[in-house]
């Protein structure tokens, strides 16, 4: 297992090719990546470098054409559609730029929805949803509908939905979207806090300031990981300048 026993997410020599023959597009070409509990990895790279493909494969929304993706040790390739859907609902949280909140449901109902779809009782799902809304600082907004919330509040509801229950893997694709810099920062703060509490996360972004929240930044170019930043020292080491 090459020291990746505790990995929440593991990509092993993953390839993803769209189409065949001369028209084939190689979105990912042999990408390997391990993300452990408490670790946030940012993925940066120019448009078309394969960032979003990587995230879709990590979340089981797409299947690789080569290599293997594991979530908490479970090879996703071994799961059928139902098994994969269940894993996605229970263990993986997604935060996208498009929030995909349902306008006809309240904030609380939006957050509780994935749990209820998974068979959690309505009462328990609402309790967990309320805990998640509290975590993102919106305990009093549960009854509001999306169009009664500001952009930043809607984004927080979407994050609460991604974090609700026992999600161990949080996948975020440009999660701060069009938010202003203060609100965007608050979103990353929330993500960081959940990671520090033991989840693992992958953040796809083209904003260096957002990638700064990660423990490690990897650079994708033409479907290949070309570089990664060195591990960070503790705050104490940073302050004393002794980590260099």
């Amino acid at each position: 297992m090459s020291g990746s026993d505790d990995a929440v997410l593991e990509l092993r020599a993953v390839h993803r090719t769209h189409g065949t023959g001369p028209a084939a597009v190689h979105a990912l070409r042999g990408v390997s990546l391990v993300v452990r509990p408490g670790e946030l990895v940012a993925v940066m790279g120019p448009s078309g470098s394969g960032k979003s493909t990587l995230l879709a494969l990590a979340g089981g929304l797409d299947r690789p054409t080569g290599g293997e993706v594991r979530v908490e040790g479970q090879p996703l390739g071994a799961l059928d559609r139902r098994g994969l859907a269940q894993l996605r609902r229970r263990r993986i949280g997604y935060i996208f730029q498009q929030l995909n909140l349902l306008g006809s449901l309240s904030a609380l109902e939006n957050v509780a929805l994935p749990l209820e779809l998974d068979g959690t009782s309505g009462r328990r799902a609402r309790a967990l949803a309320m805990a998640a809304l509290t975590e993102v600082g919106l305990p009093a907004m549960g009854d509001r509908f999306p169009d009664q919330l500001s952009g930043g509040q809607q984004q927080r509801v979407a994050i609460a939905r991604a974090l609700v229950g026992e999600r161990r893997l949080v996948l975020a694709d440009e999660p701060t979207g069009a938010l202003d810099s203060q609100t965007g920062e608050a979103v990353l703060h929330l993500l960081r806090r959940r990671i520090d509490a033991g989840a693992a996360g992958v953040l796809v972004t083209h904003e260096a300031r957002h990638a700064g929240w990660a423990d490690r930044v990897v650079f994708l170019r033409d479907g290949v990981l070309v570089d990664t930043t060195a591990p960070l020292g503790s705050v104490e080491q940073l302050l004393s300048g002794s980590d260099r």
Binding site: G212, D227, V235
Partner: protein, 200 residues
């Protein structure tokens, strides 16, 4: 920026002696700009020479406080009112380095760009971590200093991204070829380098 104006700004709060000034300076810059006590006293004596501060009688503990003069206040007000000129900042070594990398035979510019981007990104991670750890209201001055460094690092990464995109557009095949000019005495050398590069 000068330590001079930093000390004047601190003295505007009230009289202080050297060690107090040093501590207050470091506090307001979040220790991102460490000062030694020698710098403080050298600066104070220059400020005194220029009539911008004046020494007060020594305390019983042997410490000599300083206070700001009216001329010092005017100088400080002028400093706050005047934007910092970009020309006052040191030349950008990185921009010059990349420009030279483009025209120096045998240099893989994309590697230079990527190595710098990784290093700058890591610095950005460090700054973000320091910021994440400073949430108290009294940390605000420090957070703003950190923010400034965060935005500068971000700008550098964006510029490096831009450089890479430009390189891809203009030189699809890896390292930059030299840019020989007919009157250049080094044309033959450059051609030889380019040949070696191509054989690699």
């Amino acid at each position: 920026m000068s330590i001079r104006h930093g000390l004047l700004a601190l003295l505007e709060r009230g009289q202080m002696y050297g060690y107090q000034l040093r501590a207050a300076f470091e506090e307001s810059t979040g220790s991102t700009w460490p000062l030694n006590i020698g710098q403080v006293y050298t600066t104070l004596s220059r400020l005194e020479r220029d009539g911008l501060v004046r020494p007060l009688p020594e305390s019983e503990a042997g410490q000599r406080p300083y206070e700001i003069t009216d001329a010092g206040r005017a100088d400080l007000a002028l400093w706050f009112a005047t934007p910092i000129s970009r020309n006052d900042r040191p030349r950008d070594e990185l921009a010059i380095k990349l420009a030279l990398a483009l025209t120096t035979p045998g240099v893989d510019v994309r590697s230079v760009v990527q190595a710098q981007r990784s290093a700058t990104m890591r610095a950005l991670q460090e700054l973000t971590r320091l910021k994440y750890g400073s949430n108290r209201p009294e940390d605000l001055p420090w957070r703003l200093v950190l923010d400034s460094m965060v935005f500068q690092a971000e700008a550098e990464v964006r510029w490096l991204d831009h450089c890479e995109t430009s390189l891809v557009r203009h030189q699809p095949s890896g390292p930059a070829p030299p840019a020989p000019r007919p009157d250049d005495a080094d044309v033959r050398d450059a051609a030889r380098w380019a040949g070696e590069e191509a054989r690699r």
